[in-house]
């Protein structure tokens, strides 16, 4: 297929483990060069999706294509990078050797290895530890090494399964920069995460999965069109709180109530209702919906249906 074929295309991809449905009916298209965020709570099926696409798991049903070739095709894999959620590299090799191993398996031309490795190490900030055994690395350094391995050889598509789970704030910032850099040179990035602010900052489009189903997807703007209202309130008991159900999904954090999707026009109505219920309002703050608001709203709606 032509180079214009999408980075990822899936049709009704499903996976069961015995009676557990890990993923059902995943249909999506990720164009080249796009940063695609895949969101969902624990056990939603994010890692399963990535493993299916990489051919590490066999789908129960459905089809998928990466870079125009059916999944499991051996040759396309040399154009793909992958940082697993469970990242682990040979402790008895040093960082440079691990990357050389990946260059060899990719396979990249031998003459390019040195440059590729040096570049990847610099990108993830491991240059000064390049000749140390991986077994002496901290968790975060190992994750950086995994990221470096995923970047080798200018892949056209990179899968990052929670790439910042072990990283410090600086590292998280670096990863966002790396992801933007990849996209800028035309590499598509499939980012699994439940760090919503991270996804919000880098992704062009997102899909939200729960219980193996995509419950929403679209660009950031499409998803976050609504407003949320945060209220600081006292004197409301549980019974009173349930009476607020009419104002849409509610994220109840005790003193702080966040109505994750509520039109600004309804704020006066909300205030008078709370007062009528005997609540004392200290603060009302409408804001643009954040991804977290939207996420909680979606999961809330999902639970009800």
């Amino acid at each position: 297929m032509a180079a214009s074929s999408p980075a990822i295309h899936t049709v009704d991809l499903s996976k069961r483990f015995g009676s557990t449905v890990a993923l059902t009916g995943l249909s999506m298209t990720v164009p080249r060069g796009e940063i695609f965020g895949f969101l969902g709570p624990n056990g939603a099926g994010k890692t399963t999706s990535v493993k299916l696409l990489l051919g590490l798991l066999k789908p129960t049903s459905g089809e998928a294509w990466l870079l125009g070739e059916t999944i499991g095709d051996l040759k396309t894999r040399n154009r793909i990078g992958y940082l697993p959620e469970l990242f682990r590299y040979q402790g008895w090799l040093d960082a440079r050797e691990v990357l050389a191993l990946h260059c060899e398996l990719a396979p990249l031309e031998r003459s390019t290895w040195k440059e590729e490795i040096t570049k990847a190490l610099a990108t993830v900030g491991l240059t000064d530890r390049a000749d140390d055994r991986v077994s002496t690395f901290s968790k975060g350094m190992q994750q950086r090494l995994g990221l470096a391995a995923a970047l080798l050889g200018r892949p056209e598509l990179v899968f990052l399964d929670e790439p910042t789970s072990a990283l410090d704030p600086v590292g998280r910032h670096d990863v966002r920069e790396i992801i933007r850099g990849l996209s800028a040179r035309g590499t598509a990035v499939f980012l699994n995460s439940h760090l919503l602010s991270e996804v919000e900052q880098v992704c062009d489009r997102v899909a939200v999965v729960d219980h193996g189903r995509v419950i929403a997807s679209g660009t950031m703007d499409e998803l976050l069109s609504g407003t949320a209202v945060r209220v600081r309130v006292g004197g409301l008991d549980g019974a009173a709180r349930t009476k607020l159900a009419g104002f849409g999904p509610l994220d109840d954090e005790g003193e702080h109530l966040t109505f994750t999707k509520l039109d600004v026009e309804r704020v006066p109505e909300l205030v008078s209702t709370i007062v009528a219920l005997g609540g004392r309002i200290y603060e009302v703050a409408p804001r643009h919906q954040t991804l977290e608001d939207r996420f909680l709203q979606l999961l809330h709606e999902e639970e009800k249906s």
Binding site: L56, L83, Y89, A100, H102, L105, P107, F159
Partner: protein, 311 residues
């Protein structure tokens, strides 16, 4: 050079790759090299080398003693006696070597794949253009090289020591090495099959128990031969087919028996067969052919089992 390796076989693969500047090493050899590299970096090879040197040194001293002991009348043992005792002692010492090899092979092969699946080590590698069969064959090949190197190296050292101490050499040293190595290789293959599905310790323990049971079944078969009881004999035969380790061990024993011993065993008739440290005949060709088929079956099984495993 980016990959610095300590192991000779790894260097061979590297030089082969360097000859043609841009020829790439096939993944099978990459995994074989990696396996050898791991054993050497984790000091397994060093530990085996040191232990082997210790045993060789100790046994050289022991064998030397045979030539210097005096009988009650104050004379030394006659050369035929020395040969007899040396050959029997060598069989026992070799049994220990084959045991060490079998144990190491089972312990190393047991977690070979399972531990890397569990830790996630294989995830990033299997996302490369690599077939699962290449992983299995590569790891098998790497360990097979180690098994042969260990069998040949330790046999050379031990036989040199025995020869220095007593002047004795077993009649078929090459066959001896091959049989001992093949025994280690059998356990390696069994361990590899198990490691595609079971966790490391479990696979290793099963392989070890299977090895001991095969050995006992061989003894049972011997007793059957001695008593001319076909049911017991079948136990031995079937166990040799299921796991050829004991059959191969008998081949090694045969390779170490000088003619005098063979003649004595034959003269003893059926009673001469009832002993796991003796062999009257070499392993039949049909058995050796079966061993080759058995290895192929084990590898096929391991590949199939790993290919259908979800990771």
């Amino acid at each position: 050079m980016l990959v610095v390796s300590l192991a000779p076989a790894a260097d061979v693969a590297k030089y082969a790759a360097d000859l043609g500047a841009e020829t790439l090493v096939p993944p099978v050899l990459v995994f074989a090299r990696l396996t050898i590299q791991e054993a050497s970096r984790r000091r397994l090879l060093l530990a085996l080398l040191v232990l082997t040197l210790l045993v060789v040194g100790f046994s050289a001293w022991g064998f030397h003693k045979i030539t210097t002991v005096t009988r009650s009348d104050g004379t030394l043992l006659p050369p035929t006696q020395v040969t007899l005792i040396t050959s029997q002692l060598l069989i026992v010492v070799t049994f220990m070597y084959s045991g060490v090899l079998a144990l190491s092979a089972a312990v190393v092969a047991g977690p070979l794949i399972s531990s890397e699946v569990e830790s996630g080590l294989l995830l990033s590698m299997l996302a490369r253009p690599v077939r699962r069969s290449e992983v299995v064959i590569g790891k098998w090949l790497g360990l097979a090289v180690l098994v042969f190197v260990y069998a040949a190296g330790s046999a050379f050292l031990e036989l040199a020591a025995v020869n220095w101490a007593t002047g004795y050499l077993p009649p078929h040293p090459i066959e001896l090495v091959l049989y001992v190595a093949a025994e280690g290789l059998s356990l390696l293959s069994l361990g590899l099959v198990l490691s595609t599905r079971l966790s490391g310790i479990t696979g290793g323990v099963i392989a070890l128990v299977a090895w001991l049971m095969a050995w006992i079944a061989g003894v049972v078969g011997d007793i059957g031969a001695g008593l001319q009881n076909s049911a017991l004999q079948n136990v031995g035969t079937i166990s040799h087919l299921l796991l050829p380790t004991d059959g191969l061990w008998r081949g090694a024993v045969y390779a170490m028996e000088p003619d005098v011993i063979l003649a004595a065993l034959r003269a003893a008739g059926t009673a001469g067969r009832a002993n796991p440290f003796s062999a009257v005949d070499p392993p039949p060709n049909a058995f050796l052919a079966w061993v080759v088929v058995w290895f192929a079956l084990m590898l096929t099984l391991a590949i199939w089992s790993f290919r259908t495993r979800e990771i």
